[in-house]
Symmetry: C2
Amino acid sequence: MNSQEEIDDFVKNGYRDYLPHLTIDPVIFGYHDQQLKILLLKWIGHDGWGLPGGFIKRREPLSEAAHRILQERTGLASIFLQQFYVFGDSPYRRKEQDTSELSERYGHVVEDSWLFERTLSISYFALVDYSKVTVTSDFFTSAHQWCDVNEIPPLLFDQNEVVEKALVTLRQQIYHQPIGYNLLPEKFTLPEIHRLYETILGKELDQRNFSKKLVTLGLIKKLDEQRAIGPHRSPYLYQFEKEAYEDALKLGIVHTY
Amino acid sequence: MNSQEEIDDFVKNGYRDYLPHLTIDPVIFGYHDQQLKILLLKWIGHDGWGLPGGFIKRREPLSEAAHRILQERTGLASIFLQQFYVFGDSPYRRKEQDTSELSERYGHVVEDSWLFERTLSISYFALVDYSKVTVTSDFFTSAHQWCDVNEIPPLLFDQNEVVEKALVTLRQQIYHQPIGYNLLPEKFTLPEIHRLYETILGKELDQRNFSKKLVTLGLIKKLDEQRAIGPHRSPYLYQFEKEAYEDALKLGIVHTY
DNA sequence: GCAAAAGTGTTGAGAATACACCCATGC
DNA sequence: GCATGGGTGTATTCTCAACACTTTTGC
């Protein structure tokens, strides 16, 4: 959607293809090299940064919409993506915010559009390796950044609360969901997954206890291979045991953090 | 909303007051006398039973809408009510189901209405004392029942899945949320809360370990009073410590079940 | 005194925590 | 041989689970 006609049609008639009043706003966590960041976009018509987002097609299953929106924005498919809350306590319309920049870029004044209606936000969070992502911009977004989770600026609407809740949920589920799948190579070392968990949880984890726990729970499996990493001892390689995560989730096994 | 004009206006023009494509469908758990039930309604136009539900007003905060719908249906306010999931993977319209009974009761054929559009369901669960509830019917519902959670019949759409997920969530949160507040008197006995937890969890809990746990966690506090209960030893009274529940939730303290 | 319900403590097993030294590799 | 990072075991504490008898009350 980049030509002037397409945008024109979307602003005027998009509600024919998409459900109004509802957006999917994923908090996309990106991990790389011991840094945990989230993807923020600069939306036209707003000064600050905000979450990516998109609309649901009229006949599109919700979870499909979430994956589509993520893929359109990041190019990534088959990603861990989970719904965690609906934010809908703000009854205001977008129009009551600022529409002048949209009007300016759009070429003429936008008086009314389904885009300005009140929206409820169905929030998902996802985990990606941000070094592998090429963020796609569109007409409505003028910039993007990967922002460290400890340095989130004030965001649009109630989105700081959204991000906070996403982070809490992610941390709660880290031992129940196969969160590392997209962030580590298929075969990885203990130090790698250790750093990943420390980064996501934002605190230190005892090296020996950590590996004991993951192996005892059966979440990972030691392989009979090592990786050469230069002038140091060669670490063993491990693999995820996906079934164990699923069992853990079903049985409600719970761990301390 | 019971007069013919009101219903007429709602069917034709309700979308002016309410957001289309979205319903709030609370799973209302009712506890009384060691029984855990859910409220089911018979909706016109459908053979089977279904969950209660309602629409969100255009300028109404989401959580307010949830409480309003619960109150309209049960008469109860200030109830424990929590959002737990959005179900939206079915892309079908209601119209593709059966509208003949609505047409029949409505007096003439209903060809098209915003009511038949595809809806996503924002699901909440609530806990009430069903002996204190007077269920309110309306034009669209012809009967209601409190149905034991172990004997749920096939429900409309994907609502069996909704109920199942509500029950799992309730059981997971029973030690984190002040779930007993509306179900027990302000001062209650250990056997009372013990029976409540056993009923909700659907299994026996060791009497001694159970009370130790609740007291150790600081969730309840022993009072210096007893209650006379006839020809038996008088049990002590206890009170909830609401702050402890809130701390438990924040700190992510976790228990086995 | 008897029937019915409430109250109370201990033990053993398993899990979580805290903690420090030796090993492998490439230069 | 040395610098760097990886690997490994044990002792202590705490939490969970299992388990049975005595006390109170009203009749």
